[in-house]
Amino acid sequence: MAIQKSRGSKNWNSCGAVFFFSIFFLLGVGLTWFLAIAPMLKVGESAKWREVVCVVQQIGVDVHQGDGDTYAPEVTFAYTFDGQAYTSNQFWFGSGSNGDRKAVEKAIAPFQAGGEYPCYVNPTNPKEAVLTRQVAAHTWLGWLFGGIFAAVGFFGLIAGVRGYFGTKAAASKRFQTRGSLAQSHALKSSNRSNDEGSSADGLPHYDIDPSVCPVEQEGPDEPLILAPKGSRVGTAIGSWFFALIWNAISWTIGYFAFRDFNWFALVFISIFLLVGVATILFSIYSTLQLWNPRTTVVCSQRNLYAGSEFEISWLHQRKSSSIVELSIELEGEESATYRQGTTTRTDKSVFFKQTVVKTSEPTEVCDGFRLVCLPEDTMHSFQGLRNTVTWYVRVHGKIRFWPDMLDVLSITVYPPPVEGESNARN
């Protein structure tokens, strides 16, 4: 029962994410279209509109009262087109109002009630006319908020879709194995004339699921260059992307809170502004790490088991003289992901830690090797959907007046081989 439930909940989480971020994306696209793109297209279209003289009957600032007042131009002008009299209330392209009163006052300043000014009439629909062929002052808000919503929605949607198909692929892989076993047993059963009381004529066994338990690759057991868990460039880009979105939203809200002297809102938003500053500092930190030396760590054998003795060697590709102290540790960690209310949490617990090397000797920092031994009584790597046991090598280089170098490199510890199999245990 637990099996179905676990997979189901993961699928539902992915479906929920796809649904949630689809709304975000559509809202973002809608906002961008109505507040920014459509008015700008109208500006282009209005280049072909006919210019006529109009009389401004009334002009002022329309105040929309609420928590924070917003403002829009309020205008009525009369014009004649093809001998027919019309009136219009459209000052510029783009509807809605914004909190910037000064921008609205500046826009209407050249116009006076009773004055004659050129206005622009749509020849195919003379009822449509505009006093100035500009977009509304708050069009940038459409780009900003619409763009943020659309970007968050888009990336969330991609992650949700990838999560859904990733789960489906993992689940179908397991069920295929199960299905083929069940099929073979069904075949065997149908061949038996009477299955009651007969002994099992086959030896059902299970091919280990590589998505949960690692399986050795075929071929000789060769040295392995360990790959980092994440890329430095990815971390830097990801942190800048997050910082940009976070700060764009919080500083915009902060600006309006400050302008309106809304002290309660200002105190509240200041927490978010501080987090925004922290995200920028982290982005700068991770960007500077791009220039750190890169360590190549090689494991003397690819197939590692509990009790394996092997060699870890290291070499720096860039100038390693900047590293004042190098430490390499072998670590084993379990992690459990669980739902608590509406949030998903992951707890981690380190169960094994061994210092491979800790040195400030320049020649040893540059390159070297050490013999390492995995404990006899330990767990192999395990990659469940919500529960994992991982092994990795943590490389930490202390650098003076510069962000430290930190690379986390995954290693795979395989379950004990079956006696008699070709992959002999070390």
Partner: protein, 120 residues
């Protein structure tokens, strides 16, 4: 009555070793089907997950009898007792019409117990 009897006196089974035994039943009528499964599941802090790795069914003709089985165990995941995660193996047996269920835990480990991991 539904029972799972295992051969030998194993406190734990090694990866890839053979697990043999028999299902014993004695019911008011012949069950339509008897199904035995070998599966692992997680317990602990994380959301539960697991997999059924072997499933075998029989269609007995009488209300009582025995059905032998012999399975080769997978290599992993090994039975585990850690701070956050526990991995358990079990043989689950069920009958259809009449419906009965039975579960018997086993340990898959190179030791005579589950692997124990403690936080440091």
């Amino acid at each position: 009555m539904l029972e799972i009897e295992l051969d030998g006196d194993h406190s734990a089974y090694r990866s890839g070793s053979f697990l043999s035994g028999r299902i014993v039943w004695d019911m008011s009528q012949a069950p339509a089907a008897i199904t035995a499964c070998l599966s692992w599941s997680t317990e602990g802090k994380g959301d539960d997950e697991g997999d059924t790795v072997i499933e075998q069914s029989w269609h007995p003709q009488s209300e009582s009898g025995t059905q032998a089985f012999r399975w080769q165990l997978p290599r992993g995941p090994l039975s585990l007792d850690a701070t956050l995660i526990r991995i358990r193996w079990s043989i689950d047996c069920s009958t259809e019409s009449p419906d009965e269920e039975l579960s018997r835990p086993i340990v898959l480990s190179p030791r005579d117990r589950a692997i124990i991991l403690k936080a440091i």
